[in-house]
Amino acid sequence: MIKRGSGMKIKIIVGALIVGFVLSGCTGGGGLLDNDDRAGLSGDGSFGQNGNFEPDSIEYFRTSIGDSVFFPVDQSSLTQQAQGILDAQATWLIDNARSEILIEGHADEQGTRAYNLALGARRASAVRNYLVSRGVPTDQLQIVSFGKERPLEVCSQESCYSQNRRAVTRVSGDLAG
């Protein structure tokens, strides 16, 4: 899966543009979260590391842009907050073109297995369609659903369920090296 895309030559400039975009989103977007909250939403606990990753790195994408968006119970529509994150994802993805982008849809455990697979696919598809509407090439985007099989958080309460109802944008390749 480690492949390099063709559009990497502009990666450095683009990284700077994204930081600018994210910051402007914070002040102008009203409902949008600041960068630290956004990193928290990625679910890996990487707070406040904006300055530590190269802006074209996958780590930066995961922690500063945020690779995940979250959904209400049994819904696949994108919240305002999710759209803000996906706008930033789209800009980064266009500028740091990878050969493969995989969007994973997930559901919380409160549902039957097959239905949750289908629901996760709806969520991944909603993200895919949004990214395409923002200019990300369709041929780079694949979707998959894990239903309730891969929870991020393991408690059986809404605080965990809300983190598990997610779609995660995964980019292949590793530009760190």
Partner: protein, 439 residues
Amino acid sequence: MQKWMVLILVVLGLVSPLKAYAAPLKLTLTEGVIQPIPYAAPVFVAENRAAEDWSKKITALVVQDLNSSGLFREVSKAKYISQITSFASPVQYSDWKAINVQALVTGAVKISSKDQLVVKFRSYDVFAGQELGDGLQFVGTKDRWRRIAHKVADSLYSRITGESGYFDSQIVYVAEKGPKNARQKALSIMDADGENSRPLTDGKSLVLAPRFSPNGKQILYTSYETGFPRIYLLNLANNRRRVLENQRGTMSFAPRFSPDGGAVVYSVTKAGNTDIYRLVLGSGQSQRLTTAPSIETAPSFSPDGRQIVFESDRSGTQQLYIMPVAGGDPRRISFGKGRYGTPVWSPRGDMIAFTKQSKGRFHIGVMRFDGSEERLLTASFLDEGPTWAPNGRVIMFTRETRGAKGASGLYSIDVSGRNLKPLRTPHGASDPSWSPLGN
């Protein structure tokens, strides 16, 4: 599957001729309240010294099977007035009647000159004072001893209830290991009592929801080994398998065989929309059966192969629908409060088992195929995915416990709602599928 052919069955004939019209010992399973039938199963007579341990083990397993059904109650051996010391001797009915035994099972075990187990048994209707059915003999290698005992128990179950048993059957399921957020899942197969479990896949790829073929020789399941959910068809005899469809940009899952084993219904997700398809295994031709923008999944054939029950959220929530096998207008059958999913048609054709979510709880329930007579059999934090015993009298399902350390296990319950019990498995377990009765 080769081992399935080693058992040889011989009809021994009656000890005394059957009286023409008396057969009062009959447990009718459709009656509302069932009093377990008191029975006695004296340790089968060991006909040679090498058979002594085997006779004890086999008798104990027959008793365990019968008791597990909840339909039979063993009368304590301490109460026996007479002992069975010879398989051929006439039974003293009065001795058994006096301790209120209604059904008596006698048996004999020997190790043959070919080092095989030879197990004979007879059953008696004590109050009618006559033999119940023919004496039977099973011959098999020693490592088949559990199957022989299950077959004896199935015969007894069948003679008393008038329906086929389910003890000599298997369960294919998903064995689960590891923490909730990194769970390993391996396809596994075991006897219906939880013994002889063995893995069929290595656990490296996520696998879901295996289903037995109607002849018990093949298994459909979903695996992520390509990174995407795909349906595989596994041949148990040679462990060969093939992917049914591998179309880029799609997912396929939730497969089930048609009753004749020649076709598969399943779900395909394209561009985020999940619909139901039917694939003919011989030709490889697939046909789309639903076209709504809603989620259509979990299809299951009626036993006559003419209809398909499935779940759809086209009304806004998950509900159950029935459509003709070629597709066409579905008819909604679930109307209660809550969400209904995972419908499975009973092998008897009369009922549909399902998972219901209501007020934060999960239930396994049954309803008639017109949606009437809904009954919820269980309630817990998370019950799902019913599968029917081959005789349509028992349902097995997955129960998952709450919380960070939550784990999955298998439970069974009679369709009457009685006799809920866990099945002991070596690891966590989910997604059971019951085989047809062994042969």
